[in-house]
Amino acid sequence: MNSSNGSSVGTQRVKRGLAEMLKGGVIMDVVTAKEAKIAEDAGACAVMALERVPADIRRDGGVARMSDPSMIEEIQAAVSIPVMAKVRIGHFVEAQILEALGVDFIDESEVLTPADETHHIDKFGFTVPFVCGATNLGEALRRVSEGACMIRSKGEAGTGNVVEAVRHLRSILGDIRKITQADNAELFQWAKSLQAPLPLVQEIAETGKFPVPIFCAGGIATPADAALAMQLGAEAVFVGSGIFKSDKPELRAKAIVEATTHFRDAHVLARVSRNLGAPMTGIGMDEIHESQRYASRGN
């Protein structure tokens, strides 16, 4: 998209560029302007504006949709850091609305109720960048082929249980490591088994890395969880219910920010993990029926 003065907006480089700027940071789910301020005060690099955190969406059931624009605008007015918001998988009109609001990043999210069971949004058609969740490398590459500028693990949102995010990160990053060792003939088989475009598989083999930043999301509740995700190879973390469903959100938010920066320094991790009060209670995976799992939505 070119403007009259020779500058271009909405290019892949500009869109992926914001994802680069968020690396090493913590993106926090907030449902009010007050929570957004708390997140910014704690050092969040961005906030995700939504009406209900995933734990409440899980509890309430029903259809979960894009948030009310006035609520998103209140949060935009309250903070100076980037504001993200969620749309339902495949709901490109919700995305058009969020772009019109000037949201900085759109999360096409399995946490909301999918609007389209087969198609994701054509994300190349937007000036605003998109992040999408993935459970494995094939899914991650399909989202990039649709124009996603950031990939995050899906994890299992709203559980306070990091086990699924760890599974997804290990799967995605482990397969990337294997592809960098593969020969040309093996790359065809990789593309076939991942159901992913061959050129993107070849790009990983050539550059040794995934085409866009990979962040962790889904179930992070403690500073140690955040550092675990970073040591596994995530480049930043999303924290959803984990902060504002805990006893002391201000302290926990700041601790998770410090833990994400100093993720290899166990002394810092020990210091920031002290006296944070109770984390969110959390849910074991065997307590959630297969049909209630968000990670299987949209693959």
Binding site: S7, G17, L18, M21, I81, P82, G102, V103
Partner: protein
Amino acid sequence: MTVGVLALQGAFAAHAECIQSLGVATVEVRTPEHLAAVDSLLMPGGESSTMSQLLLSSQLFAPIASRIAEGMPVFGTCAGMILLASEILDGRSDQVSFSAIDISVRRNAFGRQVDSFESSIHTPIGDFHGVFIRAPRIERIGNGVEVLGTLGDEPVLVRQGNVLAASFHPELTGDARLHEYFVQNMTQTRKV
């Protein structure tokens, strides 16, 4: 010679790759001990309010300020430029900066992400493809600050002594000429 890259938050990895492509070693700086091991420092883009808080909680603010005062070469891009500026407009009230270069900088002055853009910029060392992400704008330039690069009429690359600052992102274009300028013209002419 070792170039430090402030690695509290933001695009530090891309900067480190640019420096390494010149055959120069880098160290990620997160603690005062890391800082002590470097000869110069890059401050990347990211969120300046986040970095401001982490500079304080990581006990890095005072040691970096004194190293800059002693003449350590430093190069800040986008949020890094904000951290180096003498005045921040539209920042958080508790946001700290090193006042290392006499400019006033307005945060997010070009608008939100949907207004982020790439464009050609002109400098004495050649034309650059400038990527501007929720970029800050230099609204005032003090005496002694040299304008090295412009976008149209406005300054986007400035230098004062040992401090170089850009409102755009040279690390996102795989073009290491500015990093080379920093390494060759600023770090090697330094009086020890």
